[in-house]
């Protein structure tokens, strides 16, 4: 192989970090202490007194406060996502760690790593958002069970997937997510992405295909102006409270408070 000597590229790296989100103004007697903090120009203390948590999260990511309709949709979505449920793998990871006395500071990080997957997780939200942005200009009828590139049609597989965020859950339509979707679709701010997702499902002949929570999250957040990257992060933030509460409930319980299978239920096939 021809020799290429190692040499630093002539790249210009920033000499300091820049941000348009948060402005800390130094105190007079210590340059490391802030005397005033502002979020996209609004004073932090004023936000504390006058705005909700949801409004300030929206401001952080979108650079402007939400309108009333945007606030309603965003706030209801955050509550829709507030608990993945005690059966979700991420919640169970948190409970398993808590009951086995894992350091408390590790609980949310480890659970959110589990939540980061492509099945019922934040990466599925990212992929669903990308799919929706790419596809919502097309007729929903174009995405059918016969679309081979987008759909698993193998009947030996118990799960159906039309596209990221759209398919079955444990073999059938996730009717609870559909209840959440019905509520969100009824809000004034429900936009063209949510409507398109609903039309996509309606266009399917297979009743096992429906909204997954990831697809619903992605559609709402695109309608609210979030990018796929931001949508994935919002999903993680919104899901954290329920996971954390479940872990805290288990933290003081004995290690026997969670199942540990007997040998007869642990088959070794090597």
């Amino acid at each position: 192989m021809k020799n290429v000597n190692e040499a630093r590229r002539d790249e210009h790296f920033a000499e300091q970090i820049s941000t348009a989100i948060w402005h800390e103004k130094p105190s007079d007697d210590n340059p490391f202490i802030s005397r005033e903090s502002r979020c996209h120009g609004y004073e932090h203390l004023a936000l504390m007194q006058q705005k909700s948590f949801a409004e300030v999260i929206f401001l952080l990511f979108r650079a402007e406060l939400p309108t009333q309709d945007e606030h309603t949709l965003f706030n209801e979505l955050l509550i829709a996502l507030i608990h993945p449920g005690p059966r979700h793998n991420a919640t169970r990871a948190a409970m398993n760690a808590a009951v086995s006395k894992t350091h408390s500071s590790h609980i949310l990080p480890l659970a959110l790593q589990v939540l980061g997957g492509q099945w019922q997780g934040s990466e599925e939200v990212f992929l669903a958002a990308k799919f929706l942005l790419k596809s919502q200009g097309q007729a929903p009828e174009d995405f059918t069970i016969d679309t081979p590139a987008e759909l698993t049609t193998d009947n030996t597989k118990p799960e159906l997937q039309l596209a990221p965020g759209f398919g079955s859950l444990y073999g059938t339509r996730d009717t609870y997510t559909h209840q959440l979707a019905d509520r969100l679709l009824a809000l004034p701010q429900a936009g063209k992405t949510l409507q398109w997702g609903q039309q996509l499902i309606t266009a399917q002949a297979n009743e096992r295909i429906g909204w997954r929570i990831s697809g619903l999250t992605a559609a709402c957040l695109i309608d609210l102006g979030f990018s796929p990257y931001q949508a994935e992060l919002i999903f993680q933030i919104a899901s954290a409270p329920g996971i954390a509460a479940q872990a805290a409930e288990k933290a003081d319980q004995p290690i026997t408070a969670m199942p540990f299978l007997n040998d007869k239920d642990y088959a070794i096939k090597t």
Partner: protein, 270 residues
């Protein structure tokens, strides 16, 4: 196609209370079985940790030369330099007085990147597989390069050239390995582009080429390097952990350049 709803979730019902492992498990009072071996009787005292890692990932016990090659390749990515992004994450953890586990695992997560670290290996594998197929069909090197928009495995951040490739090529020779089809193709591409762009085969591209020639799949290669940066990250953690809290690259308020909106009042009617 199944029509009754219960057929759609029968697969999950069968799995509710049992684990089936194809790797092994603990039979209390008997042994810890690991792919047919007793971990404590057959492995402890004779195998190295990396040997067990390779065996469990691939199901194959590595030849001594391959084992040494893998261990040396891990050393190549164990840099005690806290400017490297994943290592800086670990150092920041230390500066926040987070634990070594938290800081190192944060560094490992950071290294699953699209620009460097184990996160680039799948795209390197995909590209090299395509190039090998094109080479087999008689395409010229120029046509192969022209057909690609990106060449993962042939560039790296910060520097041109990659001394680790030279070090591992020398080690490979010493261990008795000869370049296979993937490595020969990678070298041919490297030689071609180094003349025109100054870029060359980087370490990720090299290890993928070498291990593909040894029969490793994309998934096996990627999983093998899961912990690969851990030594560097943990070393950077230990470098900082006894320093003063917050003492790693501390920033004054004014060290962050604010580029957002000017100070503004909250709207009255929101």
């Amino acid at each position: 196609m199944p029509s009754k709803p219960e057929l759609h979730f029968a697969e999950w019902l069968a799995r509710r209370t049992q684990i089936t492992s194809h790797k092994g498990g603990w039979r209390i009072g008997d042994a810890v079985y690991n792919q047919g071996l007793s971990l404590l009787d057959d492995v402890v005292g004779s195998w190295s940790w990396v040997e067990l890692l390779l065996f469990n990932l691939t199901g194959r016990r590595p030849a001594p030369a391959l084992l040494k090659w893998v261990e040396w390749s891990f050393i190549c990515v164990s840099w005690p330099d806290a400017r490297i992004w994943c290592n800086q994450v670990a150092a920041l953890g230390a500066s926040s007085q987070a634990s070594g586990v938290a800081s190192t695992s944060a560094g490992i997560l950071a290294a699953e990147s699209k620009l460097y670290g184990p996160g680039v290996l799948p795209s390197c594998y995909t590209l090299l597989s395509q190039l090998v197929a094109q080479s087999r069909s008689g395409e010229s090197i120029a046509d192969m390069v022209a057909s690609k928009q990106k060449l993962p495995g042939f560039t790296r951040p910060i520097a041109l050239g990659d001394e680790r490739v030279k070090a591992m090529q020398a080690a490979s020779l010493e261990l008795g390995f000869k370049p296979g089809e993937f490595e020969r193709t990678a070298i041919a591409i490297s030689d071609y582009i180094s003349d025109s762009t100054g870029e060359s085969l980087n370490f990720g591209g090299y290890i993928v080429a070498f291990l593909a020639d040894q029969g490793f799949s994309c998934r096996e290669i990627t999983e093998l390097y899961t912990y690969s940066i851990a030594v560097g990250a943990l070393t950077c953690y230990t470098d900082v952990r006894n320093d003063i809290p917050g003492g790693f690259l501390p920033l004054r308020c004014e060290d962050i350049r604010y580029e957002g909106p000017a100070d503004r009042e909250l709207p009255k009617s929101q």
